[in-house]
Amino acid sequence: MLRQIEGSAAVAETVARCRPEVVCAYPISPQTHIVEGLSDLVRNGELSPCEYMTVESEFAALSVCIGASAAGARAYTATASQGLLYMAEALYNASGLGLPIVMTVANRAIGAPINIWNDHSDTMSQRDCGWLQLYAEDNQEAADLHVQAFRIAERLSLPVMVCMDGFILTHAFERIDVPEAAAVDAFLPPFEPRQLLDPAEPMTIGAMVGPEAFAEVKYLAHAKQLQALDVIPEAAAEFESAFGRPSGGLVRCYRCDDAGTVVVALGSVLGTIEDTVDELREEGVSIGALAIKSFRPFPMEAVRDALAGARRVVVLEKALAVGRGGIVSADVGMALRGLHLPVHTVVAGLGGRAITGASLRRLLDAAVADELGDLEFLDLDWNRVGAELRRMADSERSGPHAENILREVGVVAGRPH
């Protein structure tokens, strides 16, 4: 049913319709409204049978899901940022054990410095932990992806992260068609585990595996993710056929078929990018956008096919591999190997800095004029950075960067009243 609701609320209702049997909650901004919504739905009986557990840490949250999933229950949790890192050990454990847990990550920056606003550094930091990663462009897709995620996860017996931009999507009110319960039931059969803790058929899960077998077990995890390259589009196609709208999949091309310049991005920034693309197209510029929906597994072929005809690629990403540069662009570059196609990395939106249409327009004008370098930082205040670097060079005890810069910005109370 079409409603004007908060993204988090839509996700909570949609997840409830997927009938998780165990939901675990540890609060962290900006995921809180999702787990609160689910708590209400369990308490008022709308989601039943379901055990809703408030736990003492994110590490516990995912651990509870691990136990629950191994015991045959459909399990769900949500987190962000620091919480995702706190459960890092458990992330690898869940994927290594092949447990089809679904988790929402409300993308948020990672400290230090502590920052509660959106960027992709959290899920990017865990890109190799063995979980599938699906990124939502808007709240409709965020809701829809959860339905697909349970199906994909259980089909492959691998855990799935549904990534949605913290605050920008989680706290935005927009028009969402929350999937109807009956339709979700038809799409999602009950969970049939591939392995089960069952007294009737005892088995050992989590044995120690030495050098003689570890590589093979690990390879199988990789092989399953590669299978996801087929399972994800199948699930998306089936979803579209069942629910009547396109959603998910591996990538989505927006006016990029004949584009000379293609902007690649993940998540909600694509909306603003598409508006800017339209503006430029009106002026006769040959430009398009490529939305990456599945970041893990990385859709090498689909990306290559979409970009092969372009003259230049701009990867706009909300994360930074410190000491190295782009993360998404590294994978994109790999996909384009041998094609001699310039790939420009633009790091933007870190720590929640708004990506405005005006800035994007300036960026893309520069891209089209071949004025971009390999690694660009959108809207970075080079003066402040320069001043701080000089301070560091001038004195041993130069102080913490964050505090120094904030003092210059005038945010820290160094201002007289």
Binding site: R3, H171, R175, G271, T272, A358
Partner: protein, 208 residues
């Protein structure tokens, strides 16, 4: 190709005054009228008293952009003490609107120049807190102001605003807030009629 007319609103308040809710309610009201709408706050940690900004966009067609509202068509200001502390008017369009909650006139608040830069009848202050206090028993003007907004801009009619309010706040608060909104709606209509400004509800909706 005619561009889908998007009307952008920015709401300023302090934490605890309901600025975020105000933007959300606007979006729900617009949705009830069959339009696309998007509302979101500029976020911060939960803390009462700190300046808060929230945004709402409505449009006939789908809204894709997610950037904050930099060039609002309308400003709603819940707390007059923000006036000289925060850059409230940044980007306000020349044909935009200003609705401020205060029992004092804009000129008395030092906003005479701002009002003059806008079109006649586009900038108003109304005693929304007092109206709210009478209906709710509490000086929370956010819902009340939405009625004023509807009359000032003509972007929404009153019934969907009242419906959105009633849906959000369970009775008796819902009824009381809706009544406060209705009173502010009437108040603004009267003010505009007295200043002989064309009735917003017939003119503004067709703005392209």
């Amino acid at each position: 190709m005619a561009e889908s007319a998007t009307f952008e609103v920015r709401v300023h308040g302090r934490g605890g005054q309901g600025a975020v809710t105000a933007a959300e309610l606007l979006s729900v009201a617009a949705f009830d009228e069959g339009r696309h709408a998007q509302a979101f706050p500029s976020f911060g940690s939960e803390r009462t008293g700190a300046p808060v900004v929230s945004f709402c966009r409505f449009s006939e067609g789908p809204i894709r952009t997610r950037e904050p509202v930099a060039s609002p068509d309308a400003l709603i200001v819940l707390d007059p003490t923000l006036v000289h502390q925060v850059d409230l008017f940044a980007g306000l369009r020349p044909d935009g609107y200003l609705l401020l909650s205060s029992s004092r006139r804009l000129a008395e608040l030092g906003l005479g120049e701002v009002a003059e830069r806008l079109r006649p009848g586009h900038a108003l202050s109304i005693p929304a807190r007092e109206v709210a206090r009478r209906h709710l028993g509490k000086p929370l003007p956010n819902a009340a102001l939405l009625g004023g907004f509807a009359a000032l801009t003509g972007q929404l009619s009153l019934p969907p605003v009242e419906a959105a309010i009633r849906e959000r706040f369970p009775s008796p608060a819902g009824e009381a807030n809706a009544a406060a909104a209705a009173e502010c709606f009437e108040l603004v209509r009267q003010i505009r009629a007295e200043s002989e400004v064309p009735d917003a509800s017939t003119q503004e909706r067709s703005r392209a």
